[in-house]
């Protein structure tokens, strides 16, 4: 197990390195530079800044300097434009809590609701609850989160004035939580539908399995048999979709954060790309990549906990 974890962590570092490298060169393909359109900056000052940030050197040299900075000094470089001189790493650190709060809350809401809806749909397969849930699922999967965000901003927030239009970063905890409800909802419709659809399929398959029949012929009540034998077995493959789901939520939060002006990484990444603040974009990208590979690692490791066939697989059949 230890060896396996070590191997996985090694691969993780390798993936991160590849992501950074590709992103570094891709970012520079965007036309323009951080100081191009700044009317306050004299051409000499601009040249001096560019020289100080090493932006005048050839791209490969900049790349080597960037990687060296990370490896040798744990230095992510300073922000070029958004907040000049402030370490990009510190800027990210400041923005992480809002984003993580939003994403984790969305995940925490999506999982139980999705599981509940999926279970209902499976138990009432081909009856009206199943049909109703199926329609909702298709709606939630096919409509992107920013449409939900706009609708939520228009109806509950603007027309009915039930919730604040924008995220309230400065108010007290209650006000902050209240202003988070809409963005979290906007982020959660898709994941709820994904979990629901997936669990419904899995559960229907497990419910018609032979071992469910055996559980019934043992004398278990239907509810008992479902709880003990069908439910857990259907949740194993669910771990599979939590990875893409979490990264999906993160992707959706890029836009949703901007719409609700949540001071999170999503807003930061959009702003930094718009202003060509390369160092901040890189740091934000690295944050997203790190979260993604971490989720994959955690999910892979947790398989063993849920499914003994994977945990004991190495020892094989006897």
């Amino acid at each position: 197990m230890g060896k396996y974890v070590l191997k996985r962590v090694g691969l993780m570092v390798l993936s991160l390195f590849i992501i950074i490298s590709v992103a570094f060169f891709a970012l520079r393909l965007i036309p323009g530079g951080p100081y191009d359109d700044d009317p306050d900056l004299a051409p000499e000052a601009q040249a001096a800044l560019i020289a100080r940030m090493n932006l005048d050197k050839p791209l490969p040299v900049q790349y080597v300097l960037f990687i060296k900075g990370i490896l040798m000094e744990n230095n992510w470089g300073a922000s070029l434009k958004l907040r000049p001189g402030i370490s990009a790493f510190d800027i990210i650190k400041e923005r992480v809590p809002a984003t993580m709060l939003l994403n984790i809350m969305s995940l925490l809401i999506s999982l139980p609701l999705g599981i509940l809806a999926g279970t209902l749909a499976a138990l009432y397969k081909s009856k009206w609850p199943d049909a109703l849930i199926s329609v909702l699922v298709i709606l939630c999967i096919s409509v992107p989160s920013f449409i939900f965000a706009t609708l939520l901003q228009y109806f509950p927030a603007y027309r009915w004035e039930l919730f604040p239009l924008l995220f309230n970063a400065t108010g007290n905890t209650a006000a902050r939580l209240k202003s988070m409800i809409l963005p979290v909802m906007a982020l959660s419709f898709g994941p709820i539908a994904t979990v629901c659809r997936y669990l419904r399929g899995e559960l229907i398959e497990t419910l018609s399995s032979e071992y469910m029949l055996l559980a019934r012929t043992k004398g278990l009540k239907r509810a008992q048999a479902i709880a003990r034998h069908a439910f857990r077995n259907s949740c194993v493959p669910l771990a599979n979709i939590i990875i893409p789901m979490f990264t999906n939520i993160m992707g959706g939060s890029l836009v949703v954060e901007t719409l609700f002006s949540v001071p999170g990484i999503g807003t930061l990444i959009v702003d930094s790309i718009n202003t060509r603040d390369y160092t901040v974009t890189m740091a934000a990208l690295l944050f997203y990549s790190f979260i993604s590979v971490m989720t994959i690692l955690i999910v892979d490791l947790s398989y063993g906990l849920i499914d003994p066939r994977i945990r004991l697989g190495a020892k094989g059949n006897e």
């Binding site: 032979e210 029949l213 055996l214 012929t217 034998h229 077995n233 004991l312 059949n317």
Partner: protein, 345 residues
């Protein structure tokens, strides 16, 4: 063997609702199970044998409809029993062994827990240690060696034959009086098959069980059954003691089945049964087997044959037994084999 009937299926008819229409899976099946005996139901896939026993267990699929008939057990009709009544019968009075042990066990639950789960249903207050002890004893009694260690293992760590033993242990856990075996050896290797059959015979003697044995394999039936019901297209076409069915088969389908069964001595070419079973959405009017029967009479296509009595225990539903019908010639393979068996006896 006393002659008390403990389970009696009378004129049972079951249909399945499908998009194409009602499938008449079981059409008027009747048989009795007497205490301590083994009754076999033999037939090819789709003949309705598994559906019949699912009805007995009360685990028919949702689209199944019981059209008529009764299943009498313990003085009541199981068809009219509520789900709650069934709860007190399923597992505790009637146990079931499945066709495919590879998929009958929950793949992510320890073997031991799957057995103790059943024990706990009969005795909810049993302690952990006692349940474990009992389960290990059960496992040993069905021939699982090193049971104490294997208690904590998962199904994927067991071979097919061993898994079938676990399934048997689960079926026996609540000490049922009736054991239903639904093709228990079909999914297993031939060598393992024989051992599982021996085991079933052994536990039947030990625990004085009454057994309903479902199979398509005449060779398997010969080893276990006291009485045999031959099923075709949802009907029992012939019933009799094992000797009667094997030595004096009267229905052309029974004869065809026996003639298709390989054995060690037969040197002639085995017969195969031409054609396929009828579409049960539109069951044939007369004898369902007529289409595949080279010696079918005209009336076989017109009218369903009643049961003709051959002896007190032997009945067959075929017009060939009608006094006016021409005498049915048995296939040569079969005639030779029966002669040989009688000679040896």
């Amino acid at each position: 063997m006393d002659n008390e009937t403990i389970l009696s299926v009378n004129d049972l008819s079951i249909s399945f609702k499908t998009l194409n229409g009602m499938v008449r899976a079981v059409r008027g099946v009747s048989f009795d199970l007497k205490r301590g005996e083994t009754v076999a139901i033999v037939g090819e896939s789709g003949s309705g044998k598994s559906v019949t026993i699912k009805a007995v267990m009360g685990i028919l699929a949702g689209n199944a409809v019981i059209d008529s008939g009764s299943i009498m057990y313990g003085g009541r009709d199981l068809i009219k029993a509520s789900e709650k009544d069934y709860q007190s019968i399923r597992g505790s009075k009637i146990g079931l062994i499945f066709q495919d042990p590879l998929s009958a066990l929950n793949p992510i639950m320890k073997i031991g827990r799957q057995i103790t789960e059943a024990l706990r249903l009969s005795d909810p207050k049993i302690s952990r240690a006692d349940a474990r002890k009992k389960a290990v004893e059960l496992m040993e009694s069905v021939g699982i060696t090193d049971a104490d260690r294997r208690f904590d293992q998962y199904p994927f760590q067991f071979s097919g034959g061993m898994r079938q033993r676990v399934v048997i242990a689960i079926a026996l856990a609540r000490d049922p009086e009736i054991l239903i075996c639904d093709e228990p050896t079909t999914a297993l290797d031939v060598t393992v098959q024989a051992r599982i059959l021996d085991l079933i015979n052994e536990i039947k003697q030990e625990r004085k069980l009454s057994v309903i044995f479902i199979t398509h394999d005449m060779g398997v039936v010969a080893n276990v059954a006291d009485r045999i019901n031959v099923m075709y297209a949802g009907k029992i076409v012939e019933k009799g003691t094992a000797d009667e069915i094997f030595l004096e088969p009267a229905h052309p389908y029974t004869q065809a089945l026996l003639a298709a069964m390989p054995d060690l001595e037969t040197s002639e070419r085995l017969m195969s049964i031409p054609g396929t079973p009828p579409n049960m959405i539109f069951p044939p009017k007369g004898d369902a087997f007529a289409e595949r029967n080279a010696h079918a009479l005209e009336i076989d296509f017109e009218e369903e044959p009643p049961y003709f009595k051959i002896s007190d225990t032997h009945y067959a539903a075929t017009w060939a037994l009608h006094p006016k019908a021409p005498k049915l010639e048995m296939p040569e393979v079969l005639r030779n084999r029966i002669a040989r068996i009688k000679e040896e006896a």
